[in-house]
């Protein structure tokens, strides 16, 4: 009898100090918090789940969820480095087996998606589970044009959304991200963006992608394209600069695991002429800046496409890849002020968007075109490596 009592008491103690899964995220508004709790309770009926949150609900109706008080960042967009530091510290205290990090707007994630993300890291063979979202038409274009192709070509990973919105982490992955997060905090760069996929690639950790369906993707507080592009691409270019020794070695890309979404999403009514006009204006005014960054054959190709009619406008995939590679090199060399450099990239990005919209309007599935762009980046990686090592030469 005594033995039984002591055993049950021990179990109760373990329940309060250990957790199967730790859920951490940015500050969630009270009205969304209840929905997140309900989804988590449905997704993990048998696991001991600890949720680190700033607010406590009036009454916790879910027996398997334990809510502990913890500080959260007030991120309204992507997770901040401080979130990763907090997550690892709480996970160590709670002796959690895995961590689920949820970004703003996590209430729109379905219970099945939460379960899949956690299952990937529970398996023990995966260190980083990254969601693959189903986005509305013409969304996430910076990711499709720059972030995904660059990450895929340089870090040999097929992660379609290499961003810090929602993530499933093993403890060792969380530890690594917390170390990087602390470094950012020490450098007083609290608003810096973390690139967990790149960190995992450098550490040779296993990364897996999980289909999670639709989600309300959080948007930056400033919807201005100039601000977003400068922040996101600047952060990725800096990341590429810091990991140059890693990506210059050739690496084999893993075989695709998830099916390509072949649905046609465009109805062809996007405002292409305005974007083409913006590119033409830049082509006639920004030559003095572009010629410091781009080689003469790229400038010539840009001049040729600027003469195309808006309906026929296309940005060739290999030209786009070389433009981005040249900008990465110029960012590293500080050929011109970095703010100016990223500002001069905006009209070229708009030209890519216009070309992409025309391609999708002509009947090609959006994802297939993005895959073609990413393949062009991969094929031309040697150009970036050559220019990175011998930047004085413009390779034709």
């Amino acid at each position: 009898m005594t033995t039984e009592n002591s055993t049950s008491a021990e179990t109760a103690t373990i329940d309060l100090t250990t957790a199967d899964l730790l859920v951490v995220g940015s500050a969630i508004p009270p009205e969304e918090f209840e929905a997140v709790l309900a989804n988590l309770a449905e997704a993990f009926p048998d696991e001991n789940v600890v949720i680190a949150a700033q607010q406590q609900p009036a009454a916790n109706a879910h027996a398997n969820l334990r809510i502990i008080e913890a500080s959260q960042s007030s991120a309204t967009w992507m997770l901040k480095p401080a979130d990763f530091v907090n997550a690892f510290e709480i996970a160590r205290e709670q002796q959690a087996r895995a961590i689920l990090m949820l970004g703003p707007g996590a209430h729109s994630l379905k219970p099945q998606a939460l379960r899949e993300l956690a299952n990937a890291v529970f398996s023990g063979s995966i260190d980083l589970a990254v969601p693959r979202y189903t986005l509305p038409p013409h969304s996430g274009l910076i990711n499709s044009a720059i972030l995904y192709p660059l990450t895929r070509a340089l870090f040999a990973t097929r992660t379609r959304f290499p961003l810090t919105i929602d993530l499933g982490l093993s403890i060792r992955m969380a530890e690594r991200l917390a170390t990087v997060g602390k470094r950012f905090a020490a450098a007083n760069q609290d608003d810096a963006l973390l690139w967990p996929v790149n960190e995992a690639a450098v550490a040779a950790f296993q990364v897996d992608e999980v289909e999670v369906g639709t989600r309300d993707v959080p948007q930056p507080s400033d919807p201005d394209i100039n601000a977003i592009l400068q922040l996101v691409t600047g952060s990725l270019f800096a990341e590429i600069e810091s990991k140059a020794t890693f990506w210059q070695r050739p690496r084999r890309l893993p075989a695709p695991r998830l099916q390509l979404d072949e649905t046609l999403l465009s109805d062809g009514t996007a405002d292409v002429p305005r974007m083409v006009e913006a590119f033409r204006l830049a082509n006639s005014n920004l030559q003095e800046i572009w010629c410091l960054v781009l080689p003469p054959n790229s400038l010539l190709a840009l001049k040729r496409i600027s003469a195309l009619d808006a309906g026929m406008f296309r940005m060739p995939e290999n030209l786009w890849a070389r433009i981005i590679f040249d900008f990465v090199v110029a960012y590293r060399l500080r050929t011109i002020n970095r703010g100016h450099l990223l500002g001069a990239l905006i009209p070229l990005y708009l030209a890519w968007v216009a070309g992409h919209l025309n391609v999708t309007a002509s009947g090609m599935p959006s994802e297939r075109h993005i895959e073609a762009v990413a393949a062009a980046f991969e094929a031309d990686k040697s150009y970036l490596v050559a220019r990175w090592r011998w930047p004085d030469r413009f390779n034709s």
């Binding site: 509305p136 038409p137 013409h138 969304s139 996430g140 274009l141 910076i142 990711n143 470094r183 450098a187 450098v202 993707v217 948007q219 930056p220 394209i225 100039n226 977003i228 592009l229 996101v232 600069e241 810091s242 990991k243 140059a244 465009s266 109805d267 062809g268 009514t269 996007a270 405002d271 006009e277 913006a278 204006l281 830049a282 005014n285 920004l286 800046i289 590293r332 060399l333 011109i336 002020n337 703010g339 100016h340 500002g343 001069a344 905006i346 009209p347 968007v353 919209l357």
Partner: protein, 267 residues
């Protein structure tokens, strides 16, 4: 006695033949005196300043040579202890400079030595010049003003180029048709300001420069104000429209107006 009489008669004849103000030998004598005195003053100045100039060059040369030697030694020592590798291990991915750290340290040591040589050379020159300050010369203070003016000019050109590029990129991204004109206006605004500051520093022109600068600066500002005011009506209306869109105050579309284009989300 006979000789004395002959001299007196020659002198009296010369005195009657030429008036006193046309005495060539006196004029030449005065001119020669003036030239001798001027040459003496310049040579004295040069003699006073020359050791200082020599000291400046000697100090600079010695410290440059020292810098080269220290730089070479540091490069060899740091390569021997594999400094680059150790630093890379210590800092991880946090700091990746475009040049190897050994090279940076070697270059820094060289330039610190050169700077030190410059400081010592200038102070030696200053000490020797101080001994010659009694000489009436205003050239050397003017040279220091000229150096200051060169620095102002360089800073002005750099700032003008930076601002012109900022305005050009900002205006192109705001889709202003007159982006180049605006950028050029800002560039010349800063250049005119710089030119006025340089002339003022060199104490050339006085009030004329101030007046000309005021007219030019005012003219450029007025031209730009007119250009922006007349040319950016569309931009202002677009900005107001987007504000109304964001706050949800837009009125419903009237009948017959085509639906808006597909929404693009960059992120």
């Amino acid at each position: 006695m006979h000789n004395l009489m002959a001299n007196i008669s020659v002198t009296s004849r010369l005195a009657f033949a030429t008036p006193p103000y046309l005495d060539d030998s006196t004029i030449w004598h005065h001119m020669s005196d003036a030239l001798h005195q001027s040459m003496y003053r310049v040579l004295t100045l040069l003699i006073a300043v020359l050791p200082g100039i020599l000291a400046f060059f000697v100090a600079l040369t010695i410290f440059t040579l020292c810098g080269m030697l220290i730089s070479w030694l540091l490069r060899r020592c740091l390569s021997w202890i594999k400094f680059d590798l150790r630093l890379a291990r210590l800092s991880g991915d946090a700091w990746v400079p475009s040049s190897p750290p050994t090279e940076i340290v070697a270059r820094a040591s060289f330039w610190i030595c050169v700077l030190f040589g410059l400081i010592i050379g200038v102070s030696a020159f200053d000490a020797s010049y101080a001994t010659g300050t009694a000489l009436p010369i205003s050239l050397l203070p003017y040279v220091t003003h000229a150096v200051g003016a060169v620095f102002i000019l360089i800073a002005g050109v750099v700032i003008a180029r930076f601002l012109a590029r900022s305005v050009l990129i900002g205006a192109v991204n705001a889709q202003l048709q007159y982006a180049r004109f605006l950028s050029l206006g800002v560039k010349w605004l800063v250049m005119v300001l710089t030119a006025a500051m340089v002339l003022d520093h060199l104490e050339i022109g006085g009030n004329i420069v101030e007046l000309a600068f005021g007219i030019l600066f005012g003219g450029i500002v007025l031209t730009l104000a007119l250009a922006v005011g007349l040319g950016s009506r569309d931009l202002v209306s677009r900005s107001l429209e987007s504000h109304v869109d964001r706050t949800g105050e837009r009125s419903p579309l009237p009948h017959g107006v085509p639906p808006p284009a597909e929404q693009i989300r960059h992120f």
